[in-house]
Structure formats: structure tokens, C-alpha cells
Symmetry: C2
Subunit: 433 residues, 2 copies
Amino acid sequence: MSIQTQPSSRKTSSPQSWEKQLLATIKKAKAASFAAAQLSPVMKNKILLHAACLMEKRIPFLLRENKKDLVRAERMGLSAAMMDRLCLTPERILKMAEGVRAVAALKDPIGKVMERRKRPNGLRISKVSVPIGVILIIYESRPNVTVECAALCLKSGNAVLLRGGKEAFHSNRALAGVFAASLSKHGIPSECTSFIKITDRSAVDFMLQRDQDIQLVIPRGGESLIRKVVEVSRIPVIKHYQGICHVYIDASADLKKAVAIARNAKMQRTGVCNAMETLLVHQRIASRFLPSFGEVMREEGCELRGDGLTRKYLPWAKKAKPEDYGFEFLDKILAVKVVHDLESAVSHIQRFGSGHTDAIVTKNNKAARYFVDRVDSSSVMVNASTRFADGFEYGLGAEIGISTDKIHARGPMGLEGLTSYKYVVEGSGQVRS
Amino acid sequence: MSIQTQPSSRKTSSPQSWEKQLLATIKKAKAASFAAAQLSPVMKNKILLHAACLMEKRIPFLLRENKKDLVRAERMGLSAAMMDRLCLTPERILKMAEGVRAVAALKDPIGKVMERRKRPNGLRISKVSVPIGVILIIYESRPNVTVECAALCLKSGNAVLLRGGKEAFHSNRALAGVFAASLSKHGIPSECTSFIKITDRSAVDFMLQRDQDIQLVIPRGGESLIRKVVEVSRIPVIKHYQGICHVYIDASADLKKAVAIARNAKMQRTGVCNAMETLLVHQRIASRFLPSFGEVMREEGCELRGDGLTRKYLPWAKKAKPEDYGFEFLDKILAVKVVHDLESAVSHIQRFGSGHTDAIVTKNNKAARYFVDRVDSSSVMVNASTRFADGFEYGLGAEIGISTDKIHARGPMGLEGLTSYKYVVEGSGQVRS
């Protein structure tokens, strides 16, 4: 099968020798990370802006390389949606270059004094933001991830190891090469942006054991990819598995807003992690809300799967199976449940939610407060669509991913999530007694 | 052997049934974590202060339980140092109770609005500190860890699973019981502080797979324990493996301060992670610094292991083997090396350091800046002893551990490290277009 051999054709050597080669790549990235950490904001922006220019200049080359992936993908029978994700066009490349310029325009996140205190013994303690070091990104077929991650890691002074999917091998290599070229031109080690050329599957496992050299792993892709990474990794992983987002329509909700928010949360884009998957409706408002909401969803071609009470008001809805609650449809399908009260809605979310994003629609401030305090999700919305859970919408300026973890970064993760800190302690000869 | 049977004697049931029991404990802790997260600052402090009182009242009981551990430890031939760590006295218990009161007196870390912004579409985004959830602490023989961790987790609104060493089983159970009793008395689920009674070794592995229910693991103990936890865990782990701390005496150092700092960093307490393990000396100051420093260390009974140049000035020093550099002696032994310049010192630390704490002694601000920028350790000291790397010394008020990781918490980790955050988004019906 060409899946195994095509990009692997460059792996003419024995397994042992790719390990050596990969280890060398990792070690070089580590060495480069020291240089990346010392880059001035001005230099980082020069490199980014030059990369954006190069990307535009190299459009014909990038399209040629992309073509190789497309030809192979077609032979392999990839779905139209997958082909579309993979495909580069001049417009898409220009947009990526614009994205790189936008990252350059963000505030530099490194060297910020986050706290400063003077101790009774005269020690001056400051907590200063620093890069994390070497970040490994493991991703699937979208070539734009290469560009976004390369730009964000560079801006935050980190070295990055890019391990993209085989399907996009040539496209990713060519895009990463743009950053390497810009780094070299400015006299900075090109290994600050390292593309992993070894496509052997066990290469990922090998890298995930190197916790001495790699400080953070961010897997971007489907749940099975992420679970595998977490299982194998000795390196801290930041991730989200699923977005089981709920919208709860409270008894006191504004009906018009409730319909608009629920519709937007489900339908504005169905295949994304911040789309609603289950709608909860307070029993006291069900008879007024459900018929008009149902009408809208029927027009939109969305399948509803409801419990008994839901189907009382929407007889055309399918009967929900127990497994429909807490399920990530990522499609024009919605589970609906009529709940007894606010408390039941919160319990339902505590039980079935994935800690991503959940919303309440209500005019009652007390109900909103109760919901916000008790729903333990990375984003909790009051009278707004779950679709707003996004780094750009929150004004972070960039997003490297969304985390449903509770340590380090939670929710939409921008440049700040790519930093660590160090304590700098300045004394005048103090010793501890 | 009694090691296996004594506390395991309470495990009369089959492996399958301890799994069930342990799973039930974990699930109860998860349920309790929702209650813990809702506790008001006043209630948390009431519980802590009552626990401190109870601890004092129960001194005779705590000593009796501790005695059981001590008798067993003696039978097993534990070292005097281990026996001392294990041993409770009325004074030590009073000190622990004081520690709990000190935690109560700290500022409540939950519900703090860390950022607030209003978006052009009218959405108000706030980033609010919240507890992490369920925290698993895996530790070795010191019973005071039980008290410190129980107090800090409660103060930060987290539920805690305490998995202590077998040697301290009865002491730990009794101390954890104090918190459970105080929780119950205040009508709060006692499972907020859960002591793991199952001492079977595979119980730890079982817990480390439960990433649905446990959000964070903090192993406290020797390096081998920590490595094992990292290898098995699917749950994020915060840890430090080693403290290979360096002191670098720059050419321009104040000689008297240099001797005092180096002596303090090595000798004030040798068995701790922030003690110096390697001393680096600029060649231009070696002839003046080393003889007087050597004299002091000889008086203190510290063995020096030096390179050729070191031994030129200190002929009585042993010859350092390559493996002495980057080694954690935790003892009255110090590796010494004369380096060519500041740059070589930094390279040495980059190569052999463990990212814990490293210090420079210098009167030259430029040298200090160079060192601070390039040494990538959780604490970087200028003209101060490495022994100051400590949550209390930094004014954090408490310390649950020191992290040499670069994500989430780095360096001395206090209450803030036990929190996460959520985004609260307040709208008036906004939908995404």
C-alpha cells in the first residue's frame, strides 16, 4: 500500500538508524530552544514577517508540493471533506500569511514581570514569564496547523517539533520550510521550527518518551489520536477530548433569545467542538419554547432526539436513546431533554458534560449565578451561544487549541498558554539561617 | 513478611473487590469535590480551625496510632533517620496544628477575577479562579505531609485523595481522620479529605488510570517513586525529580559573600533539593576564592571533589569523576569545577542542571543579567543562597511542593498552583455570525 511506502520511501534506513536521526533532530531542537528563548521581540517579528513574505513568494512551489499530497489522497480515496481540508489554494496561502502577520502584531508574551515582592530579609523576588522550551505538536491532515503552530511557538520563544499527518506530508514540509528559511536568513538556528520527516508510526511513541528534551505535547486531532498520545506520553500533554456542550433554557428565559442562541449553538457550524450537542429545557417553559424552536430546526434539517416530554411538544422528534445524552454528534443531530428544574440541569451537565462549554439562557440573575458557580466547564456562558468559546472571540488574539484539562491552560489557549515562568531572586549576599 | 500483611490485613477481600472499593472511594471524592468547590472562605476556615483544635485534643490517640507504625518500623529495621521522620511527638503535633491555622489565615485563592474584558459585540468575558477538582497525593513516610496536603487542598476548594506510605499507615489514617471529622461536624462530605486505606501496590496504578475522576497527581518522595508515577499516569503529574543546584562564583564576586553563600547553599541542610551539589568558580578568582572556601568546608567536614585546577589550589580535594557533575549527593559532598568564563558556567548548568535552582555570585550587573536570562531553572538567584528556593521564603505562605516542570506551576508551588480557572461569558443574547 502506498500509505506505508510513499513518504516512508525516504526512510531507506533501518529502524535503528531512524531513531538516531530522530534523536538528533530532537537534540538540535533542544539546542535551538535556548536560542529561541533569547530572541528579542523585534527579531521574532522580523522572522515572522519575512516568513509571511516568503510564503507568498513561494505560492507556486507550495501548490506543487500540495498537489503531490492531493494526488496521493485521491488515489487513497480520501473523503471530499478530507480533500478539502488538505487542499491549498493561492487564497488560502495568502490567508495563512496574513495569519502570521497577525501573530507578529500580538504583544510579546516573554519577559513579563508577573509578580514582584520584596522580602523582610531584603531579597527581591520576581516571577518572570519565559518560554516553555521544546513543544511537540502532533496533528492530522490540515496544513494550516503547521503555519499557526510554527508562528505561535516562535512568537512565544519556543522551539517546535511539527509532526503532521502523512496525508499532508509534502504540504507541511514545504510550509515548515518557509519558517526554517526565514530563521536561517536572520542567522537563527533553523531548528527552532523543526519538521519531523520520519513518518514511521513508532516515531511518535519514541518522541513521547523524551521528557528530558521535550517539555510539552499538544495533540490536535481526533479523540483516538489524543487518547493514544496521553496513554504513551511521559511528557505533559495539553488537550481536549470532546466537546459535549449543553445549552440550558431556564424557566425565565427570553423566548426569542433562547431560540436564537440554541439555533446558533447547534447550527452555525455543526462539526466543531463548541457546537451544542444536548439541549436542556426547563419544564415550565417547554410548552412555549419547544414548538417554535422545533419549527426552526425542522427548517434547518436538524434531527431532534428527545425524551418523553420533548416529544409531547414535538411529536415528530425521534425518541432519544440513553446514549444520545453525552454524545458528540458533530452533525445536524441534537439530543433534547426537558428537565425538572435548574438543579436537574446542572446535575445533567455534571454527569454528561465534557467540561468544554455550557450555556444558560435566563433573565434570572440568581439562576445564572447558580449555574456559573456549579457548572465546572472551561467556558460557562450566560445568554450567549456556545460557539463563542474561541481564542479570537475572547480577544486572546490567537489560539493554539482549546484545553479541557484543568492544569496549566484551560479553555481557549493563546500565547500565554505557551509560556512558563521563572523566579528571579536578587540579593546582596543573603544566606538562610 | 509483615511488610505485606500488616496493613494489608484489612484487605481480606479479593483483588476484584478492592478495585470496587477503591473505585467507590474515588467516585465519592469526585462527588465531594463539587461540594468542596462551593465552600465559602468562612466555612473553609471554620473547618480548618476546628481540625487544628481536634488535632490537639486527639494527641494521645495520634501518639498511640503512631506508636503502631513505630513498633512495626523498628521490627523492619528502618534507619534512624527514617524512624525520626516517622515519629510524632506532642510538640510535632502542636506544630502541625499551627501549620493548619497558618493555612486558614492565607488569602482565599478561589473566585478571584484574574482578567476581565468587554468585547466589541458586548460580551463580557471574565477569567475566574476555580479549584482543580480531585487531587491525588502519593507520598512516602512523613505523616506531616498528610496534614499539609489536606489543609492546602481544602483551602483551595479541592477534594484530596491521600495515598501515604505503608510505614506511616496508622499515623496518616489518624491525621486524615481529623479533617474528615471536622468536615462532617460542619455538614460537609467527609470525602473531601479521603485517605486511601488500600495499601496494595497496584492500587496506585489503578488510580493513575482514572483520568475521568482525578484531575491532578502530585507525587512527593524519591525519584524512583516519581518516575514510576509519570510512567503509568494518564493524569497530569506535577513533580520534581532532582535538585542539581549550582552556585557559580563569578570573576567579580565579593569574596566574603561568595564564601558565605556557597557554604550556606551546601551545608545549611545537605539532604534537601535546594542544596548546592556543584560549585563553579571563574578561573580568575579561583586562586583567591578556593583556599578560603576550602578551609571552611574542611572545618565543616565536607568532602570536595574537584577538577585539575581546583586541586591546584586545594590539593587535599579528591579528584572529581565525570559522573560527579550533575550528581545529587544530598550529603556532605560537593563537586567543584573551575570554569573558563561566565559562558562556560552557563553551558555547564544547561548541560548538567535539573532546572531547579542555580545561583550566581557577582558584583557585575551585566554578568548577573546574562546568567538570569540564560539559565533556565525554576529559580535563578543573584547573590543569594540556593536554599531560599522555598514557598515560605518567597512569601507564598505555603508550599505543596516544588515543580521542575514547565507547565502549570513551576518552582515553589503554593495555593495558586492548586487552582485552575474558568471563563465566564455574560451576554444579552449574542449569537455568532
